[in-house]
């Protein structure tokens, strides 16, 4: 087929591919950056309420999820070294570990959000409207939107890592061509970076 013939001659430029990913990451940084600005303004306007509401969050589960994301970031970073050494088996294992850790993060998030829901804390909850101050409602609104958007990025990351694993199996990724692996890694580190700020801002600062 003409397609396969063409695919063989597709110009491959690892650097261009990486720049494209970085430009996309910049837009992501500014997307979350905007939300951090909203958070900081509301925190400045409602210091007491943010203090109170922050104490509702479970620091332990937040810390566990932080460690999970940091370890998964390390394993996907290691996989770029493994592929450069053409060690396909180790690349597979490291990506597999990253994928499992990503899923564990989401499972923790499910239980964390679940316990909030059980206490009547969720967007649009009548209980929140009647028992909480405006500032506390703002805190939890930001909490759900920002950790929710972050969780959505975890889902996209899982899809990207799965795609990378499939291409690795099809031998489309190898020691000479691994831009998809590298870019999935960059994306996963971005997800980690965002969490590095979400964790102290929501769980630690009381």
């Amino acid at each position: 087929m003409e397609n396969t013939h063409q695919a063989h001659h597709l110009p491959y430029d690892a650097e261009a591919s990486k720049i494209g990913m970085w430009l996309f990451i910049f837009t992501e940084l500014l997307l979350f950056g905007g939300m951090f600005i909203v958070y900081s303004v509301y925190r400045y306007l409602n210091p007491e309420a943010f203090h109170l509401a922050g104490e509702e969050l479970n620091t332990f589960i937040g810390a566990v999820n932080t460690v999970i994301l940091l370890v998964s970031s390390m394993t996907i970073a290691m996989s770029t070294s493994a592929i450069q050494k053409n060690d396909i088996r180790l690349t597979n294992i490291l990506l597999g570990i990253t994928l499992i850790l990503a899923i564990v993060f989401l499972v923790n998030k499910y239980f964390e959000w679940g316990s909030k829901f059980a206490h009547g804390i969720y967007p649009g909850s009548q209980e929140m409207l009647s028992t909480m101050s405006q500032g506390e409602i703002l805190f939890f609104g930001l909490y759900f939107v920002m950790t929710g958007l972050h969780a959505l990025h975890i889902l996209v990351g899982i899809a990207l890592i799965t795609w990378t694993l499939i291409e690795l199996k099809q031998k489309k990724i190898h020691g000479e061509k691994y831009d998809l692996l590298e870019n999935s890694g960059l994306y996963w580190h971005l997800v980690d970076l965002i969490w590095i700020f979400l964790f102290p801002l929501f769980y630690l600062i009381h």
């Binding site: 990486k18 500014l30 950056g33 900081s40 303004v41 970031s73 390390m74 450069q84 580190h189 700020f197």
Partner: protein, 94 residues
């Protein structure tokens, strides 16, 4: 296709960086559990900035890439800082 040889980062570098990141995480938990008032926020953010730096430089390979990528990343963070300053100039002095 570029034929230049890529720098292969040894595995132990990543393990050392992960260790540092985890230590910083627990240090930030420790320091925010002490009541320092507004200093708590500053301390937590300082730890987060150091962690971000480590992730960008080592995990995201800015140390091994051509410098212009790092310069662009710096420019984006600078833009963010400028927007935050302008926003707070408005809120502090209105």
């Amino acid at each position: 296709m570029s034929s230049e040889k890529h720098h292969i980062v040894p595995y132990y570098v990543y393990v050392v960086i992960l260790g540092a990141l985890i230590v910083l995480t627990f240090a930030s938990i420790g320091i925010t559990s002490i009541e320092l008032g507004s200093l708590t926020v500053a301390a937590a953010l300082l730890f987060a900035v150091v962690k971000t730096y480590l992730v960008l430089i080592y995990f995201m390979h800015l140390k091994y890439d051509k410098p212009y990528i790092g310069i662009m990343v710096g420019a984006v963070f600078l833009l963010f800082v400028v927007v935050i300053i302008i926003t707070f100039l408005d809120y502090l002095y209105r």
